[in-house]
């Protein structure tokens, strides 16, 4: 794997990226860097600007301002050169349902001009590591959702790219297949690829080396998953037990400044600021038939807090 982007080691580098579609601004000033061997998660809801960012990085869309570089090359100026070293898996990757697994791979090998001498070895390698070997004669249309995603990924990898851009690859895939898919992504990073992966699901953040939380075209936080979760500046108390409805009624009836209650199926999360408030919540709920435990905040807690915080600078731990 040749070291990209000179000394900095960033295989993907995005600076000051902006893009509007008419009146609607999709990306408003985004910076991003992904080094070889790392998985960066672009995490945010639909409409946050994830797909636009990825399409600009892949040279499919020109930014209004800013620059995206892949292995040191400007994606807007040299899209072909960039695409030679980059694999892009869009949200709806087009496999040919009537072609078999092996035929789909061969088709993409043709498309990317993989030399005949390399093709057989490359196919065998991809079958092996995607564990699709036993299904090579099955039509793509008859694969499960998880296997389709693995085949799409294999097609994306056919030309041995050094940079992978995957747009919500696990949407609609069950947890077992998702684990398998992430295992493969981790293996690719281990071979030195730089991976940018988008997901609307906060629980996938923990699988990335670093994450960028995106909301309305901006990065609202970035860092390792632990750093981002730790940026949640407040305390969380989990409330569990048979008296949950009573506890919810008590907390709703006596709202306290700065104390927020989030309901989950069989428990509550009480967000608050300090030890005095912890004690007060405990006092209010004494005798309600519930247990209280402090819990560590997750990425989602941080995301909600940052989204609802007054507009300001990006949180960079």
């Amino acid at each position: 794997m040749n070291a990209a982007d000179g000394m900095s080691g960033a295989a993907i580098r995005v600076e000051g990226l902006r893009k509007s579609y008419g009146e609607r601004t999709a990306v408003r000033g985004l910076d991003l860097a992904v080094a070889s061997g790392r998985i960066c998660g672009l995490i945010g809801p639909d409409g946050a600007g994830k797909t636009t960012t990825m399409r600009i990085i892949c040279g499919l869309l020109r930014p209004d301002a800013g620059v995206a570089r892949v292995l040191g090359r400007d994606s807007a100026r040299e899209p072909r050169a960039v695409r030679e070293h980059l694999g892009y898996m869009p949200q709806r990757f087009s496999l040919y349902p009537d072609l078999t697994v092996a035929e789909n791979l061969r088709f993409f090998a043709d498309l990317f001009g993989v030399p005949a001498s390399e093709r057989v070895r490359r196919e065998a390698e991809l079958m092996e590591f995607s564990r699709l070997g036993p299904f090579r004669k099955r039509r793509a249309g008859q694969l499960s959702g998880g296997m389709k995603q693995k085949l799409a990924l294999s097609c994306t990898l056919i030309h041995t790219p050094e940079v992978l851009v995957l747009d919500e690859p696990t949407t609609g895939v069950d947890p077992v297949s998702r684990r398998e898919f992430w295992r493969i992504l981790r293996e690719l990073a281990g071979r030195g690829l730089a991976l940018l992966v988008s997901t609307p699901y906060m629980d996938e953040a923990g699988l990335c080396d670093e994450v960028v939380l995106m909301h309305e075209g901006r990065a609202i936080a970035r860092g390792t998953p632990d750093e981002v979760a730790a940026a949640f500046p407040r305390r969380l108390l989990e409330v569990r037990g048979a008296g949950l409805p009573a506890a919810l009624a008590i907390l709703t009836a006596s709202p306290r400044r700065g104390v927020k209650v989030h309901r989950y199926g069989d428990r509550l999360h009480v967000v608050h600021d300090d030890a005095a408030q912890t004690a007060e919540v405990a006092r209010l709920l004494a005798g309600a038939g519930v247990e209280l435990h402090p819990v560590a905040p997750g990425i989602e807690d941080a995301f909600v807090e940052l989204m609802t915080a007054p507009a300001g600078g990006e949180a960079t731990p």
């Binding site: 946050a48 609609g172 077992v176 569990r240 309901r263 199926g265 989204m307």
Partner: protein
């Protein structure tokens, strides 16, 4: 008590030729419960749901949903359940109110009834100010709440949700679940299927299906305690691997 359950199944089975997709499913979900029905692809979840919605006759066993016998009272069953999927099918070129009226109308609600139901639902869904807006111009979170409204227009007793909050931001997601909790408090039973374990965290009880059978059924906290899983994703993988 079992006669009172909103969703009840005993030894419910569905075979396709030699293949048993759902094997002797036992389930009892009370009125007003929020129940998560989880499983990997091919575990038999979809087949089970299709039976419970009256879309597929069982090969064996029995089930009752909202007081209707599955496979027998199919017409009445369909009027007593609501269904909302992540891939909601709203008409983008109709207004918010028109969508609600359309879906209510499909279920046979009359004009006056539709108007009254819209006046009741739209404020609760936080969509009152948007009633004249074209649906296509709404943000995703709003469309999702409208879809919920359309599924609720005919006052179903059991509401089936399929990955209801896919793709929305976590604030919108929490707001959506608050609406679901309100419905549950009114006695609506909510039956949720999802691949996303962070959605499962919002359910009161969850079941996990593996190869046609339910292998675990408890509260999310109970399952975490029992399996030692840190979150539902972890719990799910441990149970499926076991």
């Amino acid at each position: 008590m079992s006669g009172e359950a909103a969703v009840f199944a005993r030894r419910l089975t569905r075979r396709f030729g030699d293949f048993t997709a759902v094997e002797s499913l036992d389930l009892e979900v009370a009125g007003g419960e929020i129940f998560g029905f989880l499983g990997a692809n091919g575990a038999g979840k979809t087949t089970a749901i299709r039976m419970l919605c009256g879309l597929l006759p069982p090969s064996g066993g029995e089930a009752r949903v909202a007081g209707c016998r599955v496979g027998r009272d199919t017409g009445a069953l369909k009027r007593r359940i609501g269904y909302m999927s992540q891939r909601f099918s709203l008409y983008e070129d109709l207004t918010v109110l028109e969508n609600l009226e359309f879906f209510g109308g499909v279920y046979g609600l009359g004009r006056a009834e539709l108007a009254a139901r819209a006046d009741e639902l739209l404020p609760r869904l936080g969509l009152d100010a948007e009633r004249g807006r074209l649906t296509g111009s709404l943000p995703l979170g709003y469309k999702q709440r409208l879809s919920l409204g359309c599924a609720l227009a005919h006052r179903p007793r059991v509401l089936f949700l399929d990955e209801p909050t896919g793709g929305v931001d976590p604030v919108a997601r929490r707001g959506f679940w608050d609406l679901i909790y309100e419905q549950a408090a009114d006695g609506v039973t909510v039956f949720v299927t999802t691949h996303y374990m962070d959605e499962a965290e919002y359910c009161g009880r969850v079941s996990i299906m593996v190869q046609g059978r339910i292998v675990a059924l408890d509260t999310p906290s109970g399952l975490k305690d029992r399996t030692g899983g840190a979150d539902m994703q972890d719990v799910f993988l441990r149970l499926v691997d076991a």
